[in-house]
């Protein structure tokens, strides 16, 4: 009888091996997958016991802070309500986290403190995260929101020398404090105008004539053109087999590129685009950051890539400018299949302002541990050198003319030179629905601020009349 006894034992050993294997599966093999499961609230719950660090704007205004609840857990409050809604984001058990709250979650919960946190735990002190210092400017942000005045749109302003984001306004917005209630959350999720969407980084729009600045960069920095190169600006030039019209059907005759930018002459820039060619255009677009999700310290799913979007195999996806579906002449004037985020266009202005060097846009500047020491310094980083300093100077001169005497005079500031470019994308020709744009930097001689402004829909509005005044007001506030 002993043999079957040993066999029964062996079978049970196999069963126990199965238990060991499955325990290994959940603790090691499938661990990450289980922890990322949206139904798994354990990480979030554990974090409720930690005093999350505050998020602080440039002058010390608190944008997000933790308050202790009677049960000893912490809850998030946003003292400035909807001011920086989409960029600061939110952190609640439901609906989770977004924006800076999500991107800097590790710092804010102190998980990156390592030994320090372990020591504090051993000493029985409460767990406390690091504070996040940002460069955000509440006053200028308020100006941007006031100027948009409820119209869906976006304003992004950054310091071209450091890449620090000062203004990141997206309308419509929301009060993150409301997300504490599940009802308000689901209402916001389905609300018209998608208030939860951060339009500055995840809104994709046709850039219109603001993109001519990118075409001009490729044309001049490659040495093919100079600001005084002459091109015929008559109406109805055939581009990719289809005649192209200037605004109002105007014929300009032979004009130089500076004039063509100042007056935003479509036919000139389309021809320039064709001369520059797809490969060169693609190279400069990539240097500006087109083609990959816009870089900034926000979660990956809140950032989209700017560039030409073609329908390939029934699915719309981003392609490089060299793709066969791209009409490079019309791309050069911001039409055709080109879609951009407002932050991407602010980066274009920023690169020219910083004499050809594009700095990486960053919202957070540093984190501060509970003892007041700097835990992590977010040093300004170069994203790319887009063009030579000389080319940038030439473009600056051209863009300064736009504001001095061209389409962008509404952005002119008293005693300060502003370099800019207007854009008016046609969204619905029949109903005359347009999307006005304005990108700029100032002072033109010593740029402190680079900005992009857009309004999603106006009836017959123009970049020069609708977007430029907003840029002016925000720049005024930032340069005060």
């Amino acid at each position: 009888m002993n043999k079957p006894i040993i066999r029964v034992f062996a079978l049970l050993l196999v069963l126990f091996g199965l238990l060991a294997y499955f325990t290994t599966r959940w603790t090691v093999i499938d661990r990450a997958q289980l922890q990322d499961n949206p139904q798994n609230k354990r990480q979030l719950l554990a974090q409720q016991k930690i005093e999350r660090g505050s998020i602080i704007a440039a002058p010390g205004t608190i944008l997000a802070r933790s308050v202790k609840r009677p049960d000893g857990t912490y809850s998030r409050r946003y003292p400035t309500a909807g001011l920086f809604a989409q960029s600061v984001g939110y952190s609640f058990l439901n609906p989770g986290t977004a924006g800076l709250e999500r991107f800097y979650n590790g710092e804010l919960t102190g998980r990156t403190q390592g030994l320090d946190q372990t020591l504090r735990k051993l000493q029985g002190k409460r767990e406390q995260g690091n504070d996040l210092q940002t460069a955000l400017d509440p006053q200028a942000q308020q100006v941007a929101l006031d100027q948009l005045a409820g119209r869906a749109g976006a304003v992004v302003a950054l310091d071209p020398q450091t890449g620090r984001v000062k203004v990141m306004a997206s309308v419509p917005g929301y009060d993150p404090n409301l997300l504490r209630s599940a009802k308000a959350t689901s209402a916001l999720n389905s609300a018209a105008g998608a208030p939860l969407l951060n339009r500055t980084t995840a809104g994709l729009y046709p850039p219109g004539s603001t993109f001519k600045v990118v075409a001009a960069t490729a044309a001049i920095d490659s040495g093919l053109f100079e600001p005084d190169s002459v091109v015929n600006g008559d109406n109805g030039v055939v581009i990719s087999g289809v005649p192209l019209n200037n605004d109002g059907g105007e014929a300009y005759g032979d004009i130089d590129l500076t004039t063509a930018l100042t007056q935003s002459v479509n036919t000139v820039w389309a021809q320039v685009g064709e001369r520059v060619g797809k490969r060169r255009m693609d190279r400069y677009m990539k240097r500006y950051g087109f083609g990959s999700p816009v870089v900034v310290d926000l979660p990956a799913d809140e950032r989209l890539a700017s560039g030409d979007y073609c329908t390939v195999d029934g699915r719309r996806k981003i392609v490089s400018a060299t793709a066969s579906c791209v009409d490079i002449g019309r791309t050069a004037i911001g039409q055709d299949k080109l879609l951009t985020t407002p932050l991407q266009m602010a980066m274009v202005a920023s690169a020219i302002a910083n004499r050809g060097v594009l700095m990486r846009p960053e919202i957070g500047t540093r984190t501060i541990d509970p003892e007041g020491r700097t835990a992590y310094q977010n040093k300004p980083q170069q994203f790319s050198r887009v063009m030579s300093a000389a080319s940038a100077d030439k473009l600056t001169a051209m863009m300064t003319r736009v504001v001095q005497e061209g389409t962008g005079t509404a952005a002119a500031l008293d005693g300060i030179d502003v370099a800019g470019k207007t854009g008016t994308a046609e969204r619905d020709v029949i109903n005359n629905i347009t999307q006005p744009w304005f990108i700029a930097f100032a002072p033109a001689t010593d740029p402190q601020i680079a900005i992009a402004v857009t309004i999603e829909k106006t009836v017959g509005g123009f970049g020069g009349t609708d977007a430029a005044p907003i840029a002016k007001a925000v720049m005024e506030s930032l340069l005060r």
């Binding site: 238990l19 959940w26 289980l34 922890q35 139904q39 354990r42």
Partner: protein
Amino acid sequence: MRARNRELLGLLPASLLIVAGFGAVFLQEQTKLGDLSLTYGAIFLGLCLAAHVIIRLRLPDADPYLLPIVAVLASIGLVVIYRLNETLARDQAQWFVIGLIAFAATIVLLRDYRVLERYRYVIAAASLFLLLLPRVPGIGQQANGAYLGISLGPVNFQPAEFAKIGIIIFLASYLRDTRALLVSRKRFGITLPRLKHIGPLLLVWGLAMLMLVFIRDLGSSLMFFGGFLAMLYVATDRLIFPVVGFGLFGVGAWFFASTVGHVGDRVSAWQHPFDPKLYEQIGGSYQIAQSLFAQADGGVWGQGFGQALVSVGDSPILPAAQTDLIYAVIVNELGLIGGIALLLIYVLLIERGFRIAVLARDSFSKLLATGLTTVVALQVFVIVGGVTKVIPLTGVTLPFVSYGGSSIVANFVIVALLLLISDRARREARR
């Protein structure tokens, strides 16, 4: 070294473990680290010593490792329950004392356990009665759709825990008598026993199915039936019996899974734990999903003792953490390492059980030891397998570790019976 001295020495690690364990909980709870943990350790050691003395006096030749292994398991259980809920731990400690009394009583009263054979039909009838007790209106209780518990005044207990011992005793005795008859008749080249011999065994199968219907618990019936098949196989050494048996069980289980709502729910929760509908449903997959999440958080090394997130405020994240999901709590806090270590301790326990079965001289003792050991092993498999999604999760206790009075007491009786068999076998072997 003499067997009893080895046993005494083996109790030392268990006592150290419980002192360290309570110490860790005190540290974690941040109340002052008093001599209370030492007190708990001392009381525990005292109880183990009492058990040891009883064995020394009555069963001097019994297996020396069973008691230390059980003491280690019990101390793990007490510490983890203490960490979850102080009141429950005090209850559990009381049950531990009652369990030891039952243990001592079994050893003292059953000097010669073979007298049990004489009462096998009485024992079988009593066991059946116990099994069906939870369905008696007024005292029976339903939990999560299963009928496992009864409540008599202030005392709740699960009669199935005791019924399993009785049924094993009956089967060991019955199979001892009929094992030769079961394999004696061959038809068409295969072993085909007469109905009158196989009849009572078919009755046991019917009983397991009945349990599915009446108690509605897949785990318990798998445990009972698995133990039965192991004994049948050991008795006859014919693989055909367990194979056909498992087949019949499978058919029955499938039938009930598709007809009895509660069993079916458990099966679909097991297959799709993250299905949003099942996850939200009461009695759905929330428990198993949370068990897996808790284990994932444990990782290889665990979150650290006392670190598991069991509840937020008053709402539990891990339902039934101290009973069904105690293994998930252990893996969360002590990681894969802790989980595997616990499984290895059970393997040691089972190994001792089968060693006793192998050493035993007579069929009844062999079958009894095999049955008792297999049932304990299968109980571990059913609950740990349920918690780790090997099989559908059903509510049985983790022997000696989970909170639960009847379980502790019944398992102590099992250990006492194994020691009785062991003492006799080793004494006879020495002669």
